[in-house]
Amino acid sequence: MKAVEEENVAETDACAKTMESMVNLDGANIILGTSFGYFEPFMVDLAKKYAKVEFSACSAAVERRQAPEKSRQLFRLSQPGPLRGRRRGRPVHQVEQARFVAAKPIASVLSNINSFMLGAKKTNPNAVVQVIFTGDWSLPVREAEATNALVDAGCDVITCHVDGPKVVIETAEKRGVKTCGHNTSQAPLAPKGFITGAEYKWETIYKGYATQLAEGKPLPNMVAGGYEADMVQNSPFGAGASEEARKAALAAMADLKAKKPIYVGPLKDNKTGKVVIDKTYDNLDPFLDQMNYLLEGVTGSIT
C-alpha cells in the first residue's frame, strides 16, 4: 500500500497545504490528520472541497466539538476510548506513591489519570496518585521541572500524558524512579526503571480504513474501542516490571478484553465529594467522554 507522510507540520495553513498536495499530487484517497488543531477549519474545509477524499481526525476533543448534525460523513473521528481502559492494564502493582505529569485537564487525559488511580488502588488500596498539569501537550522544560519536583517530594512511580514522554521518562530514570510510559515504548530511555506503557494501536484502525476503502465500503463515522477490539496495547514489559507487576497487568488486560467495567459507580470527585459517576458504565460509554473531574483518590486539581 502506498502511504505518503509529512512530519513537523504546524497546525496552521501549512497543514492544509500539505494535505491538499497529498490529494492532488500523490493521489491520496484518505488523509489522516493526527493533531487536534488540524481539524477546524483546515480539515473541515478540505473535506468540503474534496468530497471524494476521506478525511480522518483523531482526537477526543474533535468528537466532543462535532455535534452529530454537524459531523458530516466525511469525517472519521477515531477516538479510541481505551485511553481510560489501557491505563488500568498497567502494572502499578503495590505502588504506594504514584505521580502523574499531565498536559491538559481535558476528558481523555482526566480519564487516563482516573483509571490509572483505580488500577493502582486495585492492587494497593492505600496507593496515592498525585497529578501535576503542565498546561500543554509539549512543554519539555515544564515536564522536567514537574518530574523533578515530584521526585523531590518522594514517589515510587512516575507516568505521564504528554505528546512526547521522553523528558519525563529520562528525568525519572536519572533520578532512580520507575516509570510507566505513553504512546510508544520508552524502554530504551529507561533501561532500569521502565515498567510498561499505554499505547494506542493505530495499526488496527488504519488497516481497517484501508481495507474498507479498497473494498469500496463506507467508513464508520466514529471509531472507538479498547483491548477487546485490539485498538490499544501495552508496551512490552521493561526491566522495572517485577514478576508480580507483570501478573497484575496481564490480569487487568484480560479483564479489559472481557469488557469488565473500569468505572464501577457510584464514584465521587476529589474536590466536592459529590457523586459524579452515578452508576457502573461500559468502558466505551459516551458518558465517560464527558469527564471533567478528578475522582476521589487522586491528589491534584484541574483548576
Binding site: M1, N8, I31, L32, T34, V162, H182, W202
Partner: protein
C-alpha cells in the same frame, strides 16, 4: 527542519505539471488501490504520539497494494 519540509512540498507542487502530463505516479497509485496521506505535528521519532502513528503507517506500507 521547517524549511526542508516546505521546500519538499513546494518542489512537489512545482513538478505537478510534469506529473499531470506524464500521469505516472499519481494515476498508478490510484489504480492500484488506496493511498493514505498522513500528517504529523512533530517528528516521527519523538518516542511519543507522532511515533505511534508512524509505526502504524510503516505497517500499512507492508500491505499489498
Amino acid at each position: 527542519m521547517g524549511l526542508l519540509h516546505i521546500s519538499r512540498r513546494r518542489f512537489l507542487q512545482g513538478s505537478a505539471v510534469s506529473l499531470a502530463t506524464t500521469g505516472v505516479s499519481g494515476r498508478i497509485a490510484r489504480a492500484a488501490g488506496v493511498t493514505i496521506g498522513i500528517v504529523y505535528v512533530g517528528p516521527r521519532d519523538d518516542f511519543g504520539w507522532n511515533q505511534a502513528h508512524a509505526v502504524a503507517v510503516k505497517a500499512l506500507k507492508t500491505l499489498p497494494a
